[in-house]
Amino acid sequence: MTLASHFSYWVTVLLLMVGLFIVMARENLIKKLIGLGIFQTAVYLLYIAPGKLIGGVAPIVGGQFAVYSNPLPHVLILTAIVVGVATLALGLALVVRIKEAYGSIDEDEILLMDARDDTSPEPEAKDG
């Protein structure tokens, strides 16, 4: 149970936090998506790293191989990467549309614009 033996976990956790922090702290919509990407990538690591055994080989059944790596996480993560790419693509497409509609990709500015547009009156006082 040394730091080194859990190296991959530490990296995973660090990347998760970095990703989340970028989403939290940046106002630029694209940078937020980058943060999201890092966040997702960290998860890929979480899956793949434990699957790899030191000295293990590809899972081909044969007499000479006794130790082989678990192939399932790789397959899973392939799927997850596809999902991640789709998400990122959609997110970027949305940012393009937002830029067209608002002329900005800064979230604070956009929300300010929305608040200014919101001309509907405050609700009247309620009694009872």
Binding site: V23, M24, L111, E122
Partner: protein, 561 residues
């Protein structure tokens, strides 16, 4: 499911009410006059017994239970609907009479319910129907209708909590006397008492009822509180706690009715007073007392509706509602005046329904040797005649004329009053008409020399006192702060009066507190309003922060615990 359920009068009344909402003119009037008669006939056809077998939730409901008590109340309600429809023929609102039928139908359903759940379902329907009746009173009635609805839905949830607790705790589904043991029964009692108008939920009656239209209040006065009385008779007969509760209501009603200036509010307070009288009677709990309460519920509906009809006619003619604005109408509206006088007398004078019913309850208190209760009831009997009878009739119809533009009430209104007066007279002259319908066998002779003489003594003495003290009564006409005032308008002026009485330091503190309360609504809006902290569009960064926080919280709690 029993076939008799198809003849359930409540269902016919409610459906008829809904159909009525789509009709106008003569067909609608015709329907409103015939429905109560049809319902009464249907009820008469159904032999006593329990009919049900309707599956709902996890229970088989006994939707219809016909016995003497339920049948009496249902018949009285139908009478109220019929007479009210006659009176309301000229009502322009398209909502009011249909809503009143849904409301009255639900009340009939409630008193014929064989189990708690059916009772509760009709109970809630009554709340909605009656809110609509108040709502039909016009724009000024809207806020009152909302307050009324809130009180009744609150009462409904208390009632429902009680019923679920009762059932979950293994209590019987059918409505039987409860022992008042455990929270469930107290909750049921509280839920019913809110509808009866007991402390501290009595102010909804004078708050909401007088805002209904001229005919709306006639309907309103009949159903809600009487249904509550009925449920109390069924489930808590002889519960001693009801005696002080009832007497408190009666006392409150009396005092406020004495002071109140708006005629229909006086009558609303008188309703609280009389319901309190009945609840005290239920607290006595002997067969005689319960007979008396059932009978008095009938008499009260009749004479209160009669008085309300007379005042309603005055409102239609003059547009005025306050005693101080009215007066001398006897010359312009002699027939209405006559009916109003009769209504006041029908509270307790011999030859009217009130005489043969009120004395039953008094007799029960006497037989049970409850000296103080009996004395209090004497006070109530005299006081309500003074406050709601003499005061209203004399201030509105007699005295100096105010040159009000008024004509005699139209025939439909006169017919409504006439029918009620005849009912009261018939029952008063021939008591078995009512006595034979009472839940328990009865052996009571109202017309003995002493009863008649003593009752006349009481009435005459009260009249004398009224004329002696009329100056005082006029001077104090106004409105009093009621419980509802505390939750409705904690006005700054009142705060000042309070504050100037105390020393400077405390005053500072109180002022700060009061400013806080005054700012509360404002700050609520700041937080919850559309641009408030909790409601505006959040930047996604802060949303993510919440996610992170919650995740941390979970992880920390899991590892630590």
């Amino acid at each position: 499911m029993d076939a008799e359920l198809l003849h359930h009068p409540a269902i016919w009344l409610i459906l008829g009410g809904i159909v009525m909402g789509f009709l106008r003119g003569a067909p609608r009037v015709l329907l409103s006059l015939s429905l109560p008669l049809v319902a009464a006939w249907l009820l008469w056809q159904i032999p006593e017994g329990i009919y049900g077998g309707v599956p709902f939730l996890d229970y088989l409901l006994d939707v219809l239970q016909v016995d003497r008590l339920g049948r009496l109340f249902a018949l009285v309600f139908m009478l109220a609907l019929f007479v009210g429809s006659v009176y309301a023929m000229g009502q322009r609102s398209r909502l009011e009479v249909p809503a009143a039928f849904v409301y009255g139908g639900a009340a009939v359903g409630a008193v014929l319910a064989g189990d708690w759940i059916t009772l509760f379902l009709f109970w809630e329907l009554m709340a909605i129907g009656s809110t609509l009746v108040i709502w039909a009173g016009g724009r000024e009635a809207y806020p009152a209708a909302m307050r009324y609805l809130m009180v009744h839905l609150f009462g409904g949830v208390v009632f429902m909590a009680g019923i679920t607790a009762h059932l979950v705790g293994g209590g019987s589904l059918s409505i039987e006397p409860l022992a008042l043991e455990g929270v469930a029964h107290w909750l049921i009692l509280a839920g019913v008492l809110i509808n009866a108008g007991a402390f501290p939920f009595w102010s909804w009656i004078p708050d909401a009822y007088p805002r209904a239209s001229w005919s709306g209040m006639v309907f309103l006065s009949a159903f809600t509180t009487k249904t509550a009385v009925y449920v109390l008779m069924r489930s808590f007969p002889g519960a001693e706690v009801l005696i002080p509760i009832g007497l408190l209501m009666a006392g409150y009603g009396l005092i406020y009715a004495l002071i109140e200036n708006t005629a229909r509010r006086v009558l609303a307070y008188a309703i609280v007073n009389q319901v309190g009288f009945m609840i005290a009677g239920i607290g006595i709990g002997t067969e005689m007392a319960l007979n008396g309460v059932a009978a008095h519920a009938f008499a009260h509906i009749v004479y209160k509706a009669l008085l309300l009809m007379a005042i309603g006619a005055v409102i239609v003619q003059t547009g005025k509602r306050d005693c101080t604005d009215l007066g001398g109408l006897a010359r312009q509206m002699p027939v209405t005046t006559g009916f109003a006088i009769f209504g006041a007398l029908a509270m307790s004078a011999p030859l009217t329904a009130g005489f043969i019913t009120k004395s039953l309850v008094l007799q029960a208190a006497a037989d049970a040797h409850l000296t103080w209760v009996w004395l209090a009831m004497m006070v109530i009997a005299a006081g309500v005649f003074l406050a709601a009878g003499l005061k209203v009739v004399v201030f509105v119809f007699f005295g100096e004329s105010r040159d009000l533009d008024a004509e005699e009430a139209p025939p439909s209104q006169r017919w409504g009053m006439r029918l009620l007066a005849l009912t009261s007279l018939a029952v008063g002259c021939y008591p078995p008409l009512l006595y034979d319908l009472l839940p328990y066998p009865i052996d009571y002779q109202p017309y003995t020399g002493s009863h008649v003489v003593f009752q006349l003594q009481l009435l005459l003495a009260t009249t004398v006192v009224f004329f002696l003290l009329r100056g005082h009564l006029v001077k104090m006409l106004g409105s009093l702060i009621d419980i509802d005032w505390f939750y409705r308008t904690l006005g700054p002026r009142w705060v000042k009066v309070m504050v100037y009485g105390v020393s400077i330091e405390i005053r500072e503190v109180v002022l700060v507190l009061m400013r806080g309360i005054a700012n509360l609504l404002g700050s609520l809006r700041r937080h919850y309003g559309t641009r408030g902290v909790l409601a505006r569009t959040w930047p996604s960064g802060s949303m993510v922060m919440w996610v992170a926080l919650l995740l941390m919280m979970y992880l920390a709690l899991f590892y630590l615990s």
